[in-house]
Symmetry: C2
Subunit: 177 residues, 2 copies
C-alpha cells in the first residue's frame, strides 16, 4: 500500500534561480527584508522527514548551532561513503533516491522535505519524484551561483497551485501534473 | 531634463528561467492554460516604445501576422548591420544601449518595453538600466533553452512590488532598488 506522503522541494532562490553563491553562501537571504518566518513554521508542521546530501549536512553541522535544527524529524543523509556512522540525529543512506522514497511511502507519515543541496535536488527533479515545489524567490539577481535547476532531457509539466507574497519574498506553489 | 519613463522587462519564463527553447520556440506558453490575456492589454497601455534585437524582429516578421504586432508604438530594432533600412514600423539602431535610453528619457512619453531577445536583455540587465521587471512564470520545467539571466559580475538588488496569479501563470513585479 502506498501512502499519500508528498515529496516536497521547499527552497529559496534568487530571481536568476540560484540557491547559493558559488562559495555556498546564502547570506543574500539575510540581507533581504523578511517578514517573520515567511511561512516556514506552517510548512514545517506538514513534514516529519527530511532528506539531504552530505555536503548540506556538513554545512548545517558547521553552523555550530545549539542543537541540530531538524531535531525530532526523521533525517536521512545521502553519502557516497559506506563508512559513515549514524548518530541520534541522522541516518546515512546510499543508493537510488527513488528506493528510499518508495520505502517511505509504504509507511504512513507526513510529507517528506528534500532539503538540498543542488546535486540531490537534481536527482529528485530528474526522476520526476517531486510532488510539490514551493519556491521562494528573493528580490536579487545574483549573477552566478549554484542553480536549483540543471539541464534535463525532457520537460516537466506542473500545475500552479498558489502564489503568496511575504514582504520581499514571492512564494510559488506548483504541483506535479 | 530627464523624464520618468521606466525601462521595463516584461517577459515569460519557464520555472527554470528559460525564455525560449534552444530552437527559439515558445510553444510551451501556448500549451499552458491561459486566462484571457494575463494582463497584457493593461501593461501595453503603459508603454509607447518597444526595443528589440534583430533576431527577435525577424522572428516576429516571420510569424506572417496580418500586421506588425507593435503597430502604433515607436519601435527600435538593434542590429549590427549598418545597411538595414528603416520602414514604417521600425527604426534600426546601433551602438550602446544606454545612449538610446538616455535619449528617450530626455523626451516625454510612456514607459519603454525591452522585448528581447536574450542578448539584448542581457545588455540592459548588466548595465542596470532596467527600472522594472515583470516576470511571468509558466508552470513548466523546460530542462534547457535560452535563459533570461546570464552570468553577471555583481549582484543586482531589487524590491518586490507585487505578485499576481493568472490561472496557471505567476507574475512577479520587481523594481530597481
Amino acid at each position: 500500500m502506498k501512502h499519500n506522503r508528498k515529496v516536497i522541494v521547499y527552497i529559496a532562490t534568487s530571481l536568476d534561480g540560484y540557491i547559493a553563491t558559488k562559495e555556498e553562501s546564502v547570506h543574500w537571504l539575510d540581507e533581504t527584508e523578511a517578514a517573520g518566518d515567511n511561512g516556514f513554521a506552517a510548512f514545517y508542521e506538514t513534514i516529519d522527514t527530511v532528506i539531504m546530501g552530505k555536503n548540506t549536512y556538513d554545512w548545517v553541522v558547521n553552523q555550530e548551532l545549539e542543537e541540530f535544527p531538524y531535531k525530532g524529524m526523521t533525517c536521512y543523509v545521502y553519502t557516497s561513503s559506506d563508512t559513515a556512522v549514524n548518530n541520534e540525529d541522522v541516518t546515512f543512506v546510499q543508493g537510488e533516491v527513488s528506493e528510499l522514497i518508495q520505502q517511505l511511502q509504504r509507511q504512513p507519515g507526513k510529507n517528506i522535505w528534500i532539503v538540498g543541496g543542488g546535486e540531490l535536488l537534481h536527482h529528485y527533479i530528474k526522476e520526476n519524484l517531486v510532488d510539490e515545489y514551493i519556491i521562494t524567490i528573493a528580490p536579487i539577481i545574483l549573477g552566478s551561483g549554484i542553480p536549483l535547476f540543471k539541464e534535463l532531457q525532457s520537460n516537466i509539466h506542473l500545475q500552479l497551485e498558489q502564489v503568496k507574497k511575504y514582504a520581499q519574498f514571492a512564494e510559488l506553489h506548483f504541483l506535479k501534473k
